[in-house]
Amino acid sequence: MKAHSKIASILLVLSFLFLTACGSGNGNEIVIGVISPTTGQSAKMGQDMNNAIQMAVDEINGKGGVNNKKIRLVFADDACDPQASTTAANKLVSENVSAVIGGYCSSAVLPASGVFNSAGIPMVVTAANSEKIPENNYKNIFLLNSTASAQAQTATNYMISNLKGKKIAILNDNTAYSVDLAERTRDAIQKAGGQVVLYESVDPNASDFNSVLTKVKSKTPDATYWTGYYAAGGLLIKQFKQQGVSGSFGVADGSVDQTLIKIAGENNAEGVFATMSPLPQFIPGAKNWSKDYETKFKQAPGPYSALSYDGMRLIIHALEQAKSDDPNAITGAIAKTKGFATFAGPVEFKANGTLTKSNFIMIGVKNGQFEMVK
């Protein structure tokens, strides 16, 4: 009788699980899904995003909600894992959410965005920024963080327009991310009428970059742009100054870290420019918000907290515009967003769901600290 009773009990457990799984919200609330990693290696990032989203929702619910309805958040953990992410996405769809916000790892967002697309639910991605997400051409997936091509464009604009540079050298560290960004920057510079005088890969584990810097020096560039990470970046800056190479030195977001300045030395790092995502600590307008966040959650906002907060505000704005919580109406309203004010500037979307204007900001080293360039 053993197997008999076992199969019967398995059936019982299964049916119990399926029965308890059903059930959804009532008509007096708007359900918004949050998909982010709250377990695994990126758990901290997910929690930072969730806090900021909760903060935006608490604010609007405190004012009586939107369209006379309160917003209720449903959190789903994607663990930054593609497999867990599709399950989490299907769970949110089953809970009849009107819209979804979140998404930290691109590899988890890619399969989840397919689920939301087939279910016709809009998703505002507030951190992940792989070029592959817009390439799917899903009409209801919106990226609030700019992609690599936007960073390349921001760097190009700065070097060509602000620095009045013509001859530009680009260095990368041969990792996929760095090479991708370097290639996009090279193309953008050539398109903007600049001249790429040198395009080189360096070994990021080396400690002596003098041979490549001698090459750079001989080309007398107006600006040199490094797309790799801070450890090698700091040494490059130090030896760049020691060799007395012409022009300014710039780094991409992978190098924006206080360690860069420490390795390079404060004097050498002075005046180095950088392209960076709009972190709250670099934006003057976000100072008060950061303080509020800290009082509420007893910790400083994370790198993507400000973007997640703005993303939730964007969804609330779309709900107001659409005067409805129907997913299609919200998708339409988000797509039609015009000049919606966020910490990183006004937001509008292209047809593929990416920002019309890059949200990358220019920062520079001043007195041993990164500061916004104006």
Partner: protein, 326 residues
């Protein structure tokens, strides 16, 4: 001739079969997705069961074969426009070839060396996927088309669930037949005592390679199905944790017994989902449950008959009840 008990049992298997068919019809999207994940985990666990359960070879890098199947389908269907059906076939072949290649030098060794080599092998495959251009690097491959027959496309979750269900049924049948065949007996002989098996004229290396290659083949098959279900794949899915979870499914349910392995695979997927309401605690609770299982049922929840006979089964075995298990 047979007792009512056996009839009762086949009745229950039929009932289980009907429930599995009905799941997408009576539940929502979320549970259909969980059930499909469970289906492909069953396929993976059944494949690994040939290696670990039948032949007694400890493999800590099984997700490598799973990755090969996934990437074969991912790359062939998106870059070269190959049909899914050809790609799943090729994925299984590549996985088998890779399994045999890695097996030839290592299967001559005893089990613990094999475990270390397979652990390294699993990491190598993941790192290649993470760093190569043709695998799409860290964010992987996206836009993998759904399988189709003529103009009929397996577009929805429900259809994909049934597709996986068919593969699982086929796998159960094949593996059950294999386990009861001469080959299956040779595997079990090697598992119990390799020297004695060799002395009796069983070619150890040949049968171990056969087990390893067949296990890899099922891993490749599951990988191809995973790729079309997910529509986007990335190296994160093929790490050591994945290998450990598949092994866990085999060990938890009961090594070497098909129904036990299926139970293990279903539980490994279902338990974390059922505990979602505990949010951050669920991984911890899952761990506690596993430790308790291993303390109180060290041979798995539903171990294979042989162990049960020796260990703790007070029930005397009668006529028909013997024949069902693998």
């Amino acid at each position: 001739m047979n007792t009512p008990f056996l009839k009762n049992k086949s009745f229950l298997y039929i009932l289980l079969f009907i429930v599995m068919i009905a799941i997408p019809l009576i539940t929502n999207r979320y549970w259909t997705d969980v059930a499909s994940t469970a289906m492909f985990y069953i396929l993976l666990a059944l494949g690994l069961n040939i290696i670990v359960g039948y032949a007694g070879l400890l493999d800590l890098g099984y997700s490598a074969f799973f990755a090969v199947g996934s990437y074969t389908t991912g790359i062939l269907t998106t870059q070269f426009g190959v049909s899914f059906w050809i790609s799943i076939f090729l994925g299984a072949i590549f996985a088998t070839v890779l399994g045999v290649l890695i097996g030839i030098p290592t299967l001559r060794l005893r089990s613990d060396y094999l475990a270390i080599v397979t652990l390294g092998f699993g990491e190598i495959i993941r790192l290649i996927a993470n760093n190569s251009k043709f695998t799409g690097g860290a964010s992987g491959i996206y836009g993998i088309p759904k399988p189709k027959i003529g103009s009929f496309v397996f577009q929805s979750n429900v259809l994909l669930y049934y597709l996986m269900f068919i593969f699982v049924l086929l796998a159960i049948f094949v593996i059950w037949r294999l386990g009861n065949s001469r080959v299956g007996r040779a595997w079990k002989y090697i598992r119990e005592d390799e020297d004695a098996a060799e002395a009796m004229g069983v070619n150890g290396l040949y049968y171990k390679l056969l087990a390893y290659g067949l296990g890899a083949m099922f891993g490749g098959l599951a990988g191809s199905l995973f790729a079309v279900k997910m529509s986007a794949i990335a190296p994160e899915s093929f790490g050591f944790m994945q290998s450990a979870m598949i092994l866990l499914a085999v060990v938890l349910g009961g090594i070497g017994r098909i129904s036990g392995v299926i139970l293990g695979a279903v539980l490994v997927i279902l338990l974390p989902e059922a505990m979602r309401s505990f949010s951050d605690w669920r991984i911890f609770l899952f761990g506690v449950l596993l430790v308790l299982t291993m303390i109180f049922r060290p041979n798995g929840l539903w171990p294979s008959k042989k162990e049960t006979e020796e260990m703790d089964d007070p029930e005397p075995l009668k006529g028909g009840s013997k024949s069902v298990v693998s």
